[in-house]
């Protein structure tokens, strides 16, 4: 009956080791040079093209009150820096934005979990929550001013109304996409109820959740800028939105450009420093990030 000399059990181990070696491929991280040419260089070139086009356009328009030259905008930056105001503008807005975002996180996460897991809650407020995402948060500024007055609470309220729906919806779609197999596997291991949510549902929903956070930040930042522009009030401290509004009142186009560039820069920087790495880490650790 036994047709071979080696016993299968003994043989299996070495065959297995061979199979394992054949079927796994080593992945390596890209070198700095590869990262530089594929990720860093293209945006630098794009930026240079914009600057060149801008410089060429200045003599054509020939009206500094409509289109200031790049050097005039540069001088506006230099002035603000030398006066020591530049970091102050940025910090006022960034601290507001991040604090508001953290509040939104603390509210949006349990809310999203509730909508995702409780059928009645989903039927009741699910559609409103996704509808709210398409409501521009600027619309909340007038009622917020009337309810809360011209103060920081008003700013936070507007940020919350802008960001909470995104964060909650991101979590809901993340939970919806959890493969039922993971839930079954969790249940057979005894992960039910709160344990199931903590050990299986939440980690499995991470990709959708992080996408929601990213969008939530974009919405926070936009709502905050809208609030700062519309409801500027000297006692609140000058953030980037107020800077823009002040520049408009003073008809200082170079400062308007300065403010817009700063708003754009901060929005992108926070995304690049916090949310993009977070998203990449979540996706890469799951093998979902395919290197091109």
């Amino acid at each position: 009956m036994a047709s071979t000399e080696t016993t299968p059990a003994k043989d299996a181990g070495s065959v297995e080791a061979g199979l394992d070696a054949l079927e796994t491929t080593a992945t390596s991280r890209p070198t700095f040079r590869q990262t530089f040419t594929s990720k860093i260089l293209p945006p630098i070139i794009a930026l240079a093209v914009v600057l060149v086009a801008w410089t060429l356009l200045v003599p054509v328009v020939d009206d500094p009150s409509k289109l200031p030259s790049p050097t005039a905008v540069g001088d506006a930056f230099k002035d603000a820096w030398l006066k020591g105001d530049l970091l102050g503008y940025i910090w006022t807005s960034v601290s507001r934005g991040l604090l508001g975002f953290l509040f939104a996180l603390a509210i949006g996460t349990p809310l999203g979990l509730l909508v995702a897991r409780v059928k009645f809650v989903r039927a009741a407020i699910g559609p409103i929550l996704s509808g709210l995402q398409s409501l521009p948060s600027v619309a909340w500024v007038p009622p917020a001013v009337i309810w809360l007055g011209l103060n920081n609470s008003m700013m936070y309220a507007v940020i919350l109304l802008g960001a909470v729906p995104s964060i909650a919806n991101g979590l809901v779609s993340g939970v919806d996409q959890v493969p039922p197999l993971f839930l079954r596997a969790g249940r057979t291991m005894g992960a039910t109820g709160v344990k199931g949510i903590w050990h299986v549902v939440l980690p499995a929903a991470m990709p959708g959740y992080v996408a929601g956070l990213k969008q939530g930040w974009a919405f926070s930042w936009r709502s905050l800028m809208a609030a700062e522009i519309i409801a500027s009030f000297p006692d609140l401290g000058v953030g980037l939105g107020q800077l823009l509004e002040n520049a408009r009142t003073a008809s200082d186009m170079a400062m308007v450009f300065e403010a817009i560039i700063l708003i754009l820069f901060v929005g992108i920087a926070i995304d690049l420093l916090i949310f993009s790495p977070l998203e990449r880490w979540v996706l890469r650790s799951r093998g979902l990030l395919v290197k091109s």
Binding site: A12, T188, M189, S285
Partner: protein, 261 residues
């Protein structure tokens, strides 16, 4: 129903790993109640290896879900010696954890103390010959390695009964063959009872002490074979092939009946 998993191995009071008595299951469909499993009575003895064999629509997976406690039978009763571990066709390892942490999660949920988990997980990985794969992410493992890690995670539950739902059917033939050897070795080393579902006749004969053939729509126990061929077996062995032929003929007869309506 036996409820605790802490019973000693030699405990005489539990003479089964799973006991199914007159189990039926029907599902509500648009055309009315559909009977999926009909009057299944079956014992899995402690340490026994049983395969359930059947064509599509025999309710094999439904039956495993019932034994695993993921669903309730419509009528009849199911008793198991503790909560069974379940292994799926897909590995079902959590991709946000490393192979080692997947196993540790099962240990944690079972109540193993934090300090003991790492050692225990390493031991289990060694048992399935995945020494050194502790820090590997799921996507870094090959199909065969994933199923072995999943097996280690199932074993981490220290259940008396291991339910396996076509665990090797998505693997290539060479890997599957090796995993048959591994499963037999691990079954013999751990003394766990196994209820293994498959539609592969040779696999059933290669692995089991007892093969149970289910008919389809509804699933009923059609026939049972004791497999007396001593382990270690190979899937190419003549006695394995011989019994497989006999079972295949009966299976085909069962399937043929459905074409005659």
């Amino acid at each position: 129903m036996a409820t605790t998993t802490t019973l000693a191995k030699a405990d005489e009071s539990v003479e089964y790993a799973a006991r199914l008595e007159h189990v039926s299951k029907s599902f509500a469909t648009p055309g009315g109640q559909q009977l999926v499993l009909d009057d299944i009575t079956l014992d899995v003895a402690p340490g026994e290896f049983v395969t359930l064999l059947g064509a599509s629509g025999c309710g094999k997976s439904t039956l495993l879900n019932l034994v695993a406690g993921l669903d309730r039978p419509t009528t009849g009763s199911i008793a198991t010696d503790g909560r069974p571990a379940l292994m799926f066709q897909e590995h079902a390892l959590f991709p946000w954890l490393t192979a080692g942490k997947n196993i540790e999660l099962a240990l944690k949920l079972r109540g193993v103390a934090k300090n003991d988990r790492r050692d225990k997980a390493e031991q289990l990985l060694e048992l399935v010959r995945l020494k050194g794969a502790y820090d590997k992410r799921v996507h870094e493992l090959s199909g065969g390695m994933r199923q072995r890690a999943a097996l280690a995670r199932a074993l981490a539950q220290e259940s008396r009964l291991l339910l396996m739902d076509e665990p090797f059917s998505a693997l290539d033939a060479i890997t599957r063959d090796v995993l048959h050897d591994e499963l037999t070795r691990i079954w013999q080393e751990t003394g766990v009872s196994v209820l293994f579902v498959t539609h592969n006749v040779r696999e059933a004969v290669r692995l089991a002490q007892r093969v149970i053939l289910l008919s389809s729509r509804p699933g009923r126990i059609a026939r049972e074979w004791e497999v007396g061929i001593p382990q270690p077996r190979r899937i190419e062995d003549a006695p394995v092939a011989e019994l497989s032929l006999e079972i295949t003929d009966v299976l085909r007869g069962e399937i043929r009946r459905h074409g005659q309506h």
